[in-house]
Amino acid sequence: MLPKDMVAVAVATGAPSLRPVETSPRFQVGETIRTINDTFATHTRLPGYARDKPGTIVGYEGAHVFADAHAAGQGECPDHLYCVRFDSKSLWGKGSDGSGAVYLSLWESYLLAGDDQ
């Protein structure tokens, strides 16, 4: 139970999802990737529109609690999280409405090396 007089502190502290992990990130900034094309019945943070799409790693966020596992009662299973850029044309083809890109935070298990496709 969170007591009333601890609420302000709890809100100002938050619940960071960053975790230390032993492994090194597999991808480097600048690398091209392709997202996986698996259809899960369970929770995932890989939006449907970004499945099986080519993108570029533009940032590394550290390892974060893996939402897919955490939602399924499997514990935190922290994994490397990247900022990935998808050019609008790659996502939408001719349906894109001009020069642009979508940026997503994607866990390593969503990503295949650009050559694996």
Binding site: M1, L2, P3, K4, V7, A8, A10, V11, A12, T13, G14, A15, P16, S17, L18, R45, L46, P47, Y49, E61, H64, V65, A67, L81, C83, S88, L91, W92, G95, S96, D97, G98, S99, G100, A101, V102, Y103, L104, S105, L106, W107
Partner: protein, 205 residues
């Protein structure tokens, strides 16, 4: 807080009120919730957090190039310098709008939003229309907000799909040279920090 409620709900408001009251009283009896904490949370989110916090950050960044550099390099740490952090702002990136790039934020999967700097989101941010369309036709959606983005400018849409939260650093309006941080802060709108509006130049004088 006053009762409103007959507008857009599929169930009578009394049913919704009964359901949450039943949950709340059971949770209090089972020792999971301190009843005083409920009003405390509502007070924080209705009266203490909000976009004036983000506006202070923007004004500081416009006024202090070294702070702006730190803010863009590591938003989370630079916000901590101003005492800003916490729930739904644990890891922050600040996105700088320039003459070449326009940034806008969304959460297509639910309605994640940077509470620490902007408070709770406006209703349209949680709407199906905004969540579905901003990623595929951002120029059309921004035009619905009255914002025209020229073809030679890139639109970057940040979808807050994981636990990283974003805030847009809007372009400083022309005509504000020499303004104090307090003056600048008053210019900054919530929508400019979401990325659905730009700040217009200020007339001289």
């Amino acid at each position: 807080m006053t009762a409103m409620g007959h507008d857009d709900h599929t169930l009578p408001p009394s049913s919704l009120a009964l359901r949450i009251k039943a949950i709340e009283t059971l949770m209090v009896e089972k020792g999971k919730i301190d009843p005083g904490a409920v009003t405390e949370i509502v007070d924080i989110f209705q009266n203490k957090l909000g976009p004036r916090i983000g506006a202070k950050v923007v004004a500081r960044a416009w006024s202090d190039p070294a702070y702006k550099a730190r803010l863009l390099a590591d938003g989370t740490e630079a916000l901590k310098e101003l005492g800003i952090g916490g729930l739904q702002g644990e890891a922050m990136h600040i996105l700088e709008n320039t003459s070449e790039v326009h940034n806008v934020i969304v959460c297509t999967l639910c309605s994640c939003y940077p509470w620490t700097v902007l408070g709770l989101p406006p209703s349209w941010y949680k709407s199906a229309a905004y969540r579905s369309r901003i990623v595929i036709e951002p120029r059309a959606v921004l035009a619905e907000f009255g914002l025209q983005i020229s073809d030679d400018r890139e639109v970057r849409v940040y979808d807050s799909n994981a636990e990283i939260r974003y805030m847009v650093l809007p372009e400083r309006p022309a005509g504000t040279d020499g303004w104090t941080e307090i003056q600048l802060e008053a210019l900054v709108t919530r929508d400019s920090m979401i990325g659905v509006s730009a700040l217009t130049a200020v007339a001289a004088g």
